[in-house]
Symmetry: C2
DNA sequence: ACCTGAACACCGTTCAAGT
DNA sequence: ACCTGAACACCGTTCAAGT
């Protein structure tokens, strides 16, 4: 069922209950026996996709590892533009796979000296909002809005670098914050 | 008419053509004599709101000025949560008032040493995406999602500071970039 | 120029009923 | 458990017609 949803999504069509049902050759309301509403379906699809992301090796250099995981997440959303707005509306994902990614980021942050949980929280939040916000903007009205996809990737990378430098520098100056 | 739309929006209701028409005591399709579709109406409302933002004094210290204008924009979107998702989908505003704000930001960036137009473009893009992305996430499903509005404001401010430091530092090291 | 009624092609969701 | 038909309460938009 999440497979059917992903298929609909990859067709470029908007993910509607009726479209998913149609692809399964089933009445629209039949879906409600398996998922609690559209919101739940989108959450399931989202976490399914997040499960395909490679977890960063905890032994890699922290900044490189964080850059890798955030870039991969951003790229995943760029590949599924129909999902980005929902990702934004839901304030990020909270499924088990999203949890795994968050934990991996915490490990990397801690290795970089960001040890306090509160500092990790804000760092993760800022990084995630940047990724999903940028992807949602990139999703835009058409396949390609006024921006080329490459300048988009480039500007995301720039913002990501600035944020990471800021996050890690903050804890050089106040170790143990 | 944009006034009616703003009224609907401030009621907390989603901005639908039919809601705006209802508030005006008019049939829904009557709106199409004044605006070209829902998209156009939202653009008009958005630019109307941006017109209420104070322009930063060009003589202020650049970083403070940029912080002020971005914080004000973010605050404006927080006050109109129904608008943020559309702002994201439209890849930012492009009306005359948005243009004015962009120009003001360019002046401040230039005063801070960011003189090349390309560098200004990416800086503005990164800052704007951060603001609207964060506001859209804050808009969330309910009035208050899992996040308190204050921690939201705080984490936005942190991200903003990191981005500004990054943007301005880039041009200390490579003046005239 | 501005509005109306009627209609089209969609939504998500619920409810009672079937197997 | 899983599906169906019918219905409800919505959408945005168009078209022909009225004033």
């Amino acid at each position: 069922m999440v497979a059917a949803a992903r298929a609909v999504l990859d067709d470029g069509s908007a993910l509607s209950m009726r479209a998913v049902a149609g692809r399964l050759g089933v009445a629209p309301n039949a879906l409600y026996s398996h998922v609690d509403g559209r919101e739940g379906l989108l959450d399931a699809v989202l976490d399914d996709l997040l499960g395909t992301l490679p977890l960063p090796d905890p032994s890699t250099e922290p900044e490189a590892g964080l850059t890798a995981v955030m870039t991969a997440s951003h790229e995943l959303l760029l590949a599924h533009p129909g999902l980005a707005p929902h990702f934004v509306a839901r304030q990020g994902a909270r499924g088990p796979n999203a949890q795994r990614l968050g934990d991996a980021m915490r490990v990397l942050l801690a290795a970089a000296g960001v040890t306090s949980e509160a500092a990790q929280d804000t760092a993760i939040r800022v990084l995630v909002v940047h990724a999903i916000g940028d992807a949602a903007v990139a999703a835009g009205p058409e396949g390609t809005g006024p921006f080329d996809l490459d300048v988009l990737r480039a500007s995301y990378a720039v913002g990501l670098r600035w944020l990471l430098e800021g996050a890690l520098r903050a804890c050089e100056h106040f170790p143990g914050l």
